[in-house]
Chain length 202, copies 2
């Protein structure tokens, strides 16, 4: 197989460096309001009118800063992906460094599953393009799982194994299993753990 | 985990039972022409005008029978999926019955990979809806792989393992690996075999 570019972890940074005070404040007001409303009633039920009303800013501010509703949703997901990345890279064990690789891997599976379930509507929106499954945040997940598989002493094609494991955490797969195949988050997590352990040879 | 409906193999049948002679002939002329043109120049480059010209029928015939270009493409894929299904269910070993389950599974991986590569444009079209990955032909593949994993004596959650293996044969995944990650059909087949063997414990 030809050498492939190694995906890197995304730079973890909150926002553009030179954003002015007002703009930054409005941005955070809008994102916080959107996050709160989504938690209350689900992303599908949240309109831009709801968001600007809850944020107490004008509608023009939302459109100037985010372009449209999809732009705001994408930035919201992006922020949460960065926070998730912080957790798996620098957070406490067993998710973060300090625990044995297999333990970290198993913690990752459960935690990512929760993340995917909590962000389903946002992720399904962004991942409508089938190739979005290979975008920058997805590459971070792939890199993380590959590294942990390798550290756990897994033999064979670690890249393919990581892709196979991550497919079981894909937002559409998870949603389909929960809604059509009688799975629960617990049983999906158990299934993931079973496959992960098997690949690690334990 | 709750009991889930067992997907069944699709009925393998060529066409609607009472299609009239002329209609059936025109249908086959159109499908054969489309198949030939796609093989020559790829599905993206084939228009309805090309197809009717090559089939020697009027454009109205195509639209009456298939609704539109997408309808014809879907029926073409459906025919090929049925032929593929015949092969894995009733064809000669090692793909069909008669070989040990692991051998059948490994033959399946290579053969399905070839099928996906050959049908990329058609499948990518149909699978633009992310939930199409769980449609009837996909359930046939899942059932087949699950049965072979179980027959090969695989322990653990066979359903999840089948999903993980099939994700490595997903049309978008395969295309991405071939075009962006330096893979070849051979190296993707090797990677699949490596994961399949591992899950089967060999």
């Amino acid at each position: 197989m030809a050498a492939r570019p190694q995906p890197r972890y995304l730079p973890v940074s909150g926002q553009a460096p030179h954003e002015r005070g007002d703009a930054a404040r409005n941005r955070n007001l809008l994102l916080d309001a959107a996050r709160r409303l989504i938690a209350e009633r689900g992303a599908e039920a949240v309109t831009t009118d709801d968001i600007v009303a809850a944020a107490g800013v004008g509608k023009g501010t939302l459109f100037r800063r985010f372009g449209n509703r999809a732009g705001l949703m994408m930035e919201l997901l992006d922020e949460d992906e960065k926070a998730f990345q912080q957790e798996i890279m620098f957070g406490p064990p067993p998710l973060g460094p300090g625990a044995p690789a297999l333990e970290r891997l198993l913690a990752y599976g459960r935690r990512r599953l929760d993340f995917v379930v909590a962000h389903r509507a946002l992720m399904a929106d962004v991942n409508r393009d089938p190739y979005a499954r290979f975008n920058a945040p997805a590459r971070v997940q792939h890199r993380h799982v590959s590294v942990l598989l390798a550290e756990a002493g897994t033999t064979g094609d670690v890249d393919a194994q990581a892709s196979a494991l991550l497919a079981l955490l894909d937002v559409h797969y998870v949603h389909h299993q929960l809604t059509e195949n009688g799975h629960t988050v617990q049983s999906l997590g158990d299934a993931w753990e079973s496959v992960a352990r098997k690949l690690c040879g334990t």
